[in-house]
């Protein structure tokens, strides 16, 4: 049976109106054959989790350029767990200082793409994990 196309929700959480980066990543993942759902700016953690649940997504990518990642990301991860969405892998991107990466990984984030990440690295990461994934 053919593998289905993987679904990725890419989201901006909180008061952060900078979506240039997430749109570029969305395009790259689209061109790599993923289904990318982009629900727009200024979503609350609860709203993001609702979108992930309704869309039956396999991945959630959160972009933050606001500096609020250590507050908002753990909240999103916790809400995903509460909703029973344990299978959803969470990836974070944006202006994440090197010293905050460990804290994000510790709270359940699968991967962090900070400043300087290349599009091809991001796409390859999704493809590599995906080829081993099953659900």
């Amino acid at each position: 049976m053919a593998a289905r196309t993987r679904r990725i929700v890419l989201a901006k959480v909180g008061l952060d109106g900078h979506d240039r980066g997430i749109k570029v990543v969305a395009r790259a993942l689209r061109d790599a054959g993923f289904e990318v759902i982009y629900p727009g700016l200024w979503l609350s953690p609860e709203a993001v989790v609702r979108v992930v649940a309704e869309e039956d997504a396999d991945w959630l990518g959160i972009s933050l350029l606001s500096g609020a990642h250590l507050i908002l990301v753990p909240k999103v991860v916790e809400l995903l767990r509460q909703q029973g969405l344990h299978h959803v892998r969470v990836v974070v991107g944006g202006t994440i200082p090197e010293e905050d990466v460990a804290a994000l990984l510790a709270c359940g984030v699968a991967k962090v793409f900070g400043p300087g990440s290349s599009l091809s690295d991001i796409v390859r990461y999704f493809q590599d994990v995906d080829s081993h994934a099953s659900r």
């Binding site: 993942l29 689209r30 629900p39 609860e46 709203a47 869309e55 039956d56 099953s134």
Partner: protein, 316 residues
């Protein structure tokens, strides 16, 4: 799902999902809406849904029109109005899938903000392959799943379409065609296709100059004396004009799906899909017939007839 998973495992997976779905669990609904794309699951889901003549408890409305006509925005504006009327609504929002990579950017939700704890609305984005007249695959079974789940309304947003993308008309009770201002002169409105199929023609962006003229042209051209009338209305999502009028028109709309013709078409479409899937698996047979055609000097028609004969021979 793993390639080696047996039919029994599949039944088990589906059994527990179906039980959760019947309990009203939205996550189970979300999962089933995904699994219908896999043929083995789809077959079982059809079985679970039970009849070819399901109880029609929902009003199914499609919103179609050219890219950028304002389909998502209009639906986003209708959702709170429908909730005020006490109706629960599910939306299936179709956006195009790439013909090159299979990827898709699904962005309809941006224009449909929903309060976080609003349980009366469910939105699902669907990637739609090219060549399908603007509607995602397996839309009929997805509509049936949402209907049986208990939504009063199922709203379908098509991909931005052209004049001839009429297939959506076979799947819904009521078809709304959105036309932005200044998108054609009188002759455009004489043409056959989507305009004929639409139950209601809505001029969008009614706050822009030219909207009134476009609406007047449509009204005149589509309502010539002696022809069946076709209602035309104007909305502006930006200025909240004409929206409650549109809702009350939709509330009073007839249920086209109750017609015998609807079931007949749906069955025919499904049978065509099944045959197309089977035929696609028989590539070697096509190559064989082509080779024989070359050897025997058949013309194209003869070769195609021979291929059709053999495909239907071992089609089971």
């Amino acid at each position: 799902m793993q390639a080696g998973e047996s039919a029994q495992d599949l039944d088990l997976v589906l059994k527990s999902l179906w039980a959760a779905y019947q309990q009203g669990e939205r996550r189970a609904l979300a999962r089933l809406l995904t699994l219908v794309d896999q043929a083995a699951y789809r077959r079982t889901i059809y079985k679970c849904l039970a009849h070819a003549f399901p109880e029609q408890t929902s009003l199914t409305v499609a919103v179609t029109g050219s890219p950028g006509a304002g389909k998502s925005t209009l639906i986003g504006k209708l959702l709170p109005l429908l909730r005020q009327q006490g109706r629960t609504v599910a939306v299936l929002a179709c956006d195009p899938r790439s013909p090159l990579t299979g990827g898709a950017l699904l962005g309809d939700r941006i224009r449909m903000p929903v309060p976080v704890d609003e349980q009366g609305i469910y939105i699902r984005s669907l990637a739609t392959p090219p060549g399908r007249q603007g509607i995602a695959e397996n839309l009929d079974v997805r509509i049936a799943l949402l209907e049986k789940f208990g939504f009063d309304w199922v709203v379908i947003e098509t991909v931005g379409v052209g004049q001839a993308d009429v297939a959506i008309g076979d799947l819904v009770d009521f078809l709304v065609l959105l036309i932005p201002p200044e998108s054609g002169d009188e002759i455009q409105w004489e043409k056959a296709g989507l305009l004929e199929i639409a139950d209601l023609v809505v001029v969008s962006k009614g706050d822009l100059p030219g909207a009134a003229r476009t609406a007047a042209q449509l009204q005149q051209t589509l309502n010539l004396p002696g022809f069946p009338p076709k209602p035309v209305t104007v909305v502006s999502a930006a200025k909240n004009l004409g929206l409650s009028d549109l809702v009350s028109r939709l509330m009073q709309s007839p249920r086209r799906r109750r017609l015998q013709e609807y079931y007949a078409r749906r069955l025919l479409l499904l049978a065509q899909e099944i045959l197309a899937e089977r035929f696609a698996e028989k590539k070697d047979l096509v190559a064989r017939v082509l080779e024989e055609a070359r050897q025997n000097g058949w013309d194209t028609w003869e070769a195609a007839c021979e291929l059709a004969r053999r495909l239907s021979e071992n089609g089971h």
